[in-house]
């Protein structure tokens, strides 16, 4: 066997480029789709729950109950409407009429005026994970406001907490969503694009043809990956521009670091796709595995929405296997915190190791398959 030759890898790459150009769908998938998805979901994804439908069952109808209601309204989070005080509040939630019901029992105002703690219940819809926790924290805020008001204007809080939200002072959801979304979208498309390349050649029988030429396995893989790396970097650039200029996400870190991290990440994602591709050799299976190992884990386990910090220890360790989980740390760190190489050396090292290991694994698997 002779040594690795770039010209042969290049001719494989040229052939792959022709495949891509013949199928405008692939080009769109690499460049257009990431931007479209980031644009759309950047606009619609918002974790602040505004105008929560709150039904109020006020059986007391006193000054005290009106004041409490006023506190809910003043918080700006609730769209409070009064409901029939005798209806079963649980039935109102089961009918999806509201996300929460405030039940003020008779005697609420009398208790308050006598100095006995006046109790009111807030029933939350515990079937909806995306709102229950947020509503609970809003209710805690209203409780504090009620306590303050009860203490009277003269008794100021003994300790005032002055919170400084670093890196995102206005708690703009978009700054949080867009860099994460970009990582998820780019990673998924990279896996999907490559998962089919080698499987397609086996299925069409053109792999045998390719192997009978003097091209070596490594050259085939390099040649097959290179065009997708270029396509992926194009996607990264477009997504970066969208984040900066459409969503005004601040970019505090270094561009060189961001693009080299993106390059490493693409290497890992493409390596993963390639590995699936050489292992399965069948397109339906390659696709099943590509989406199954790609879509749900990168949406759910990457820390994009569900915090990794809250997972049990074993699963926190398990997420370390996902390249996108590390890239997400990098993008959020570089965009918002201005993190430098010193802060990010762990994720960067892991990404480098992953891209090398996955490609090496794919190559090894590919080579053993070729031997009779």
């Amino acid at each position: 066997m002779d040594a690795f030759r770039w010209d042969r890898a290049l001719s494989i790459a040229r052939k792959e480029v022709r495949h891509i150009r013949r199928d405008p769908f692939t080009l769109a998938a690499g460049l257009g789709i990431p931007v479209l998805l980031v644009l759309f979901f950047g606009f619609v994804m918002d974790f602040d729950v505004r105008d929560i439908r709150l039904l109020v069952q006020d059986a007391d109808r006193s000054r005290a109950s009106r004041e409490l209601l006023e506190l809910f309204r003043a918080s700006g989070h609730f769209d409070a409407r009064s409901a029939d005080p005798v209806a079963d509040p649980a039935a109102l939630l089961a009918r999806e009429k509201a996300k929460a019901v405030l039940v003020i029992p008779p005697g609420f105002g009398r208790d308050r005026d006598r100095g006995v703690p006046a109790r009111a219940q807030v029933l939350l819809d515990g079937a909806d994970n995306s709102t229950a926790g947020v509503i609970l924290s809003y209710v805690a805020g209203i409780q504090q406001a009620a306590a303050r008001r009860g203490a009277g204007a003269d008794a100021a809080e003994p300790v005032e907490v002055r919170t400084r939200f670093l890196f995102n002072p206005e708690l703009n959801s978009r700054w949080f969503v867009v860099p994460g979304l970009a990582a998820v979208v780019i990673g998924l498309l990279a896996v999907l694009l490559t998962a089919l390349t080698v499987a397609r050649e086996w299925e069409n029988g053109s792999m045998e043809l390719l192997l009978s030429t003097p091209v070596r396995p490594l050259e085939i893989l390099v040649g097959k990956l290179a065009p997708y790396v270029a396509l992926g970097m194009g996607g990264v650039l477009l997504v970066y521009l969208t984040a900066r200029f459409v969503f005004d996400v601040p970019f505090e870190g270094s561009h060189a670091l961001f693009f080299s991290a993106s390059f490493l990440f693409l290497g890992a994602a493409l390596g993963q796709g390639l590995l699936i591709s050489v292992t399965t050799r069948q397109q339906p299976l390659a696709m099943q595995l590509g989406i199954v190992t790609g879509l749900l884990p990168s949406l759910l386990l990457s820390g994009f929405v569900f915090p990794i910090e809250s997972m049990p220890l074993f699963f926190r360790a398990l997420t370390a296997l996902l390249p996108v989980r590390w890239y997400m740390t990098v993008t959020r760190g570089i965009f918002l915190r201005g993190a430098g190489p010193a802060d990010l050396w762990v994720p960067l090292t892991v990404l480098t190791a992953m891209s090398l290991a996955l490609s090496a694994l794919a190559l090894k698997k590919f080579k053993t398959d070729l031997e009779p």
Binding site: A94, G150, F176, V185, L192, L295, E309
Partner: protein, 366 residues
């Protein structure tokens, strides 16, 4: 029963189940994924790394810090050097508490004291919760330590989380996650099967066989409806017996919902496969359907927040209806109006999708 159709369906089933790895993808992976996500995911904010900065003599600040750790929400951060701003900035802590110089207690005596809380707001959801948790803990400590008779708040709000009183994460997430998994498996299986025949050239053989167009279409979709419903039964069993997700409503309602849902996703998969010319396009098409479907399911973020101009898109998502149905039936016992309404909407969506798929299919054949 039409014998040709039965034979056709059997052939399709055999073809999809022939490969051991494919059987694993269809039957084992959903269970593995449900278990994985059911155990791992949590919407709760925990393990907040708290860094503190107060003098060793400041007893009140120490009490606040200890009370924070005692709640289980906070864990101590490794103490960094220099400005607390840098601990948070370097990613070593999620929050930093900075007490006034000279001690918190003395500052309180002199008048309203200020306590600075630095929060890493790269994750906005987490940042907001950290602030609320911290204020709650601080309020508790101040009430305990304030001189004189403890003054209770005049108004007490008692929040109760219905359907999931102990806030078990599995109850929150398993009904939604099983819907997601079901959606992925059915759409991919269906969209690939027809594209594969087209690419291999066996589609022409199929067309020239003595089968009507409708028979081909049914033969290509029915097996996947069957596989999807079988999958639904498997994952539901794991959810109820493995994760102890309550099944408040009647089982037949859940099954009916699953059948209607699988019908609509198989229709979506068929539509994708009739549009796609090869498997790669079918795969991209499935991705383009699945990715928005997952995000717009109501599991990732509250759909109520969507801007009005774009909010209607969520109504085209079969997964959204199914998630509402599963939660309503399994957790709330199934309200007749909600279940009926969502089932009807889901069925209508499935009809439109299958009508579009059938039309495209006949066009391709002619």
């Amino acid at each position: 029963m039409n014998p040709t159709l039965v034979a056709f369906v059997r052939k399709e089933l055999l073809q999809s189940l022939r490969d051991v790895r494919m059987r694993a993808v269809i039957f084992v992976l959903p269970v593995v994924q449900l278990t994985l996500f059911g155990l791992a995911l949590s919407t709760e904010v925990r393990n907040i790394r708290l860094a503190t900065d107060f003098s060793p003599l400041d007893v009140l600040s120490r009490r606040v810090a200890e009370a924070c750790l005692a709640t289980g929400w906070f864990v101590p951060a490794a103490r960094g050097a220099g400005d607390p701003f840098h601990w948070v900035r370097a990613g070593g802590a999620d929050a930093g508490m900075v007490s006034p110089r000279g001690g918190l207690a003395r500052a309180v005596e002199r008048g309203p004291a200020t306590l600075q809380l630095l929060v890493d707001a790269t994750n906005t959801i987490r940042a907001r919760s950290i602030e609320v948790y911290f204020k709650t803990v601080l309020g508790g400590v101040l009430r305990e330590t304030s001189p004189g008779p403890a003054r209770a708040s005049p108004v007490l709000l008692e929040p109760r989380v219905l359907y999931n009183p102990s806030m078990r994460t599995a109850v929150f997430l398993v009904p939604g996650v099983l819907s997601m998994i079901l959606c992925v498996v059915t759409v991919i299986l269906t969209s690939m099967s027809m594209a594969r025949e087209k690419e291999m050239g066996t589609f022409e053989t199929l067309v020239s066989a003595p089968l009507s167009n409708t028979e081909i279409l049914l033969g290509k979709t029915l097996p996947y409806v069957l596989l999807g419903v079988a999958d639904a039964v498997i994952v539901l069993t794991v959810a109820v017996f493995g994760f102890r997700v309550p099944m408040q409503g009647p089982v037949w309602q859940v099954l009916l919902a699953a059948v209607v849902f699988v019908f609509s996703t198989v229709a979506a998969g068929t539509l994708i496969s009739t549009v796609a010319r090869n498997q790669q396009q079918a795969m991209m098409g499935s991705f383009l359907f699945l990715f928005p479907a997952m995000l717009l399911s109501g599991i990732m973020f509250p759909l109520e927040n969507m801007p009005r101009a774009l909010g209607w898109i969520a109504y085209l998502n079969p997964l959204k209806y199914f998630v509402v149905l599963m939660r309503n039936i399994m957790l709330k016992g199934g309200d007749a109006w909600v279940v009926g309404g969502n089932l009807l909407e889901l069925a209508a969506l499935g009809m439109v999708l299958s009508w579009l798929a059938a039309r495209r299919f006949h066009q391709t054949l002619n």
